[in-house]
């Protein structure tokens, strides 16, 4: 795990890319674990009946994966994820590989805080989820 230091971070530093082959079973497991055992997250037919292209990942799972992108980057540096905001632009469908990435966009030295753009891309390089995160260093 990384043990990076705040002073070494630069604007433009990258997070990931993390390529995740998202399976239907993973999505079902997450949905059921979190009490969201509903058709749109567990069953293609059921999801289509709601006007969706097929089974989709819950927004919380996208948020969780982006959160993990940041906490993986934080590693054992002692920093903490202070804020994460997400916008779901397109459904995240299992049975495809998604790529999670990020860029450091701003550094606030007085508060030892770093701002990061994060997003999830489809195989077609379309941005399915976009967001920003704030990380505070000790």
């Amino acid at each position: 795990m990384s043990t990076m230091k705040f002073d070494a971070i630069k604007i433009g530093d990258t997070l990931g890319p993390q390529e995740i082959p998202l399976s239907k079973e993973q999505v079902r497991t997450y949905a059921r674990t979190c009490g969201m055992d509903v058709p749109r997250f567990t069953d293609d037919e059921g999801a289509r009946a709601e006007g969706l292209p097929g089974m989709i990942a819950p927004g919380n799972l996208s948020l969780g994966m982006l959160s993990r992108l940041v906490t993986d980057w934080i590693g054992e540096s002692g920093a903490r994820l202070a804020r994460l905001g997400t916008t779901y632009r397109q459904p995240v469908q299992p049975g495809h590989t998604i790529t999670l990435s990020g860029f450091v966009t701003h550094i606030e030295p007085a508060e030892k805080r770093v701002e990061i753009d994060v997003w999830i891309e489809s195989e077609d390089a379309e941005r399915l989820v976009i967001g920003t995160a704030s990380v505070e260093f000790p």
């Binding site: 795990m1 993973q26 497991t29 997450y30 674990t33 979190c34 009490g35 709601e50 819950p58 927004g59 919380n60 799972l61 948020l63 969780g64 994966m65 959160s67 993990r68 906490t71 993986d72 054992e76 002692g78 903490r80 994820l81 202070a82 804020r83 994460l84 905001g85 997400t86 916008t87 779901y88 989820v129 967001g131 000790p138």
Partner: protein, 148 residues
């Protein structure tokens, strides 16, 4: 604004949910469901040496707590079933095994815009997640998208 709703609704806090117990097993199950392997969240020995002195839940566990059944009967609907359009989360105290978590929510804002899928009404719900010590675990702004 074309969107109509009772302005009294904005800011009105609905019931605080009954406390939900969080066990070490719950955290382990959540980590497994996420494919999370970070030792701070999964390895007791490593977590003891970390900033919290104990295993804690990954930050995104804080968004998995649900409002009570009654909440959504009181939030205005603007047509067909809502979609989760995104969340803005401020993380504060971590969630530890043994914590009892409550959720208290209110409607923060309602607005209309148009996009690829047509006219949309957004209902923003602000939730405060707290533990048994009264500490804030997280503030969550949750955007629900409705299609009239």
């Amino acid at each position: 604004m074309a969107v109509e709703y009772d302005p009294e609704l904005i800011g009105k806090v609905f019931e605080v949910t009954d406390p939900v117990d969080v066990s070490a097993q719950d955290i382990a199950t959540f980590c497994a469901a996420m494919g999370e392997t970070n030792p701070l969240y999964t390895d007791e020995a490593a977590a003891k040496k970390g900033p919290y002195g104990t295993i804690v839940a990954p930050p995104s566990y804080a968004v998995t707590f649900r409002n009570g059944r009654h909440f959504f009967t009181q939030v205005p609907r603007f047509g067909r079933a809502g979609f989760d359009a995104g969340k803005d989360v401020e993380f504060h105290a971590p969630i530890r095994p043994g914590d009892k978590i409550t959720l208290s929510s209110h409607v923060k804002e309602i607005y209309e815009k148009t996009g690829r899928s047509g006219s949309m009404v957004f209902v923003v719900v602000r939730s405060t997640v707290q533990n048994q010590k009264g500490e804030v675990v997280a503030h969550i702004d949750h955007r629900f998208m409705n299609r009239p």
